[in-house]
Assembly symmetry: C2
Homo-oligomer: 212 residues x 2
DNA sequence: TGTACATCAGTGAACGCGCGTTCACTGATGTAC
DNA sequence: TGTACATCAGTGAACGCGCGTTCACTGATGTAC
């Protein structure tokens, strides 16, 4: 456990600093919030010089975007798993299954979830490629769930978001956000997921007749 | 328009610095985000010494909480107006009316809306009294809308949030949040409000039979 | 297998920035008499 | 109405902090021959 501070050969080359930075960033993010994530602080935590992170990331945002991208990967995976698990069941089951997955991801790493959506990273023109790719993939899964289609015909680059497909997404996103921000009072994650199930089951999103 | 920088008597006493700080803070908040709101920056913008704000606010958060409290006042007012406007109509009309009011407030000052909910100000033990009061009042209005009751029997201090009353709130909050964060792509506020109406009208929140 | 050398992945001192905070001070204002 | 004085609402210089960034440097690693 104890770290030999005066270790003779403290590995001049870290070996995997880039990944270590991303991992440490996600830890600090979750523990102390996004403002606590600084390049200098990460370097300190990892025992490297404060200039070392600059070797791997142009700036703080580039690092954070990596953390956010990881979040979208997990979101996508969980949504796909939920779709798989509820395959063949009636539509509301798919909604409940994927909705709970969505909120589950949010509650497991609430700060990262906020970073993913609220940081404004996505909207930037210079949004890093990986974040763009991974978020689009997760979005495509969401649209697939919402539309009840295979999703193969949905181009993430050009999808238009329409009502009422939007309803379920907005509902679970709202529940996740309100819960994370403490607006629902103190509530355990498991209770929260039960609540999500209840709300989703009590909600009927009517698909309006096709307009000609 | 031009400010006489070398004005002879530049009002040693500002006269209304406290209010001016709150107003300027809300302007800078909306233009450049919450991180851009600093006591020094506000002092600069108002042409007072950088130490002056400290005379009125213990710290930056106290000032921001004032801005957030103003936001809850506006939210409460708009919700009350929406309730009034749809009084006597069927339940779904009240939901649509107040839901659009909710999102309207969010879109009018998106950064302030994020501050109100996402800043963590509310959850703090040392949450300023005024913010606590005003947010509770807005919450009470929301609960009143959700429960379809007069709300006179709801104590803001102890209200419990249950499904499915939560559904409408979560739905509109999710729509507002996703829109503000750009997750719905570029969309005009008026189109957004139309979308909110559509989604709400397509949504039926079933009130389950009372459990014994 | 050994050696030379380029490149990789760092170090650590230095710099400038904007921030909040403190502190001795001071001009403007209100009030008592 | 005039004066004395307390209080209010600031000023502005100074300090320390943590941050990102730069820069000359250097130890470790990989590759060509």
């Amino acid at each position: 456990m104890s770290r030999p501070l005066n270790k003779k050969s403290p590995a001049y080359h870290h070996g995997d600093l880039r990944n270590a930075l991303v991992h440490e960033a996600s830890v600090i993010l979750e523990q102390h919030g996004v403002d606590a994530v600084t390049l200098r602080g990460l370097a300190r935590a990892l025992g490297v010089s404060h200039a070392a992170p600059g070797y791997h990331f142009a700036d703080r945002e580039e690092l954070l975007s990596e953390v956010a991208a990881d979040g979208f990967v997990e979101l996508w995976q969980e949504l796909e798993a939920a779709i798989e698990a509820s395959a063949g069941q009636e539509a509301v089951r798919v909604q409940v299954s994927s909705g709970m997955a969505y909120v589950g991801v949010a509650l497991r790493r609430p700060q990262r979830f906020k970073l993913m959506f609220s940081s404004g990273l996505l909207g930037r023109d210079d949004c890093p490629e990986r974040l763009r790719t991974e978020s689009s993939r997760a979005y495509a899964a969401l649209m697939r769930i919402a539309h009840g289609r295979s999703g193969l015909d949905i181009d993430p680059a050009t999808y238009r978001i329409d009502q009422p497909e939007l309803g379920t997404w907005a509902l679970v996103h709202g529940l996740a956000t309100l819960s994370i921000d403490g607006a629902l009072g103190p509530i355990e994650p498991t209770d929260m997921l039960t609540l999500v199930r209840s709300v989703l089951e009590a909600t009927r999103l009517e698909k309006p007749a096709d307009v000609c």
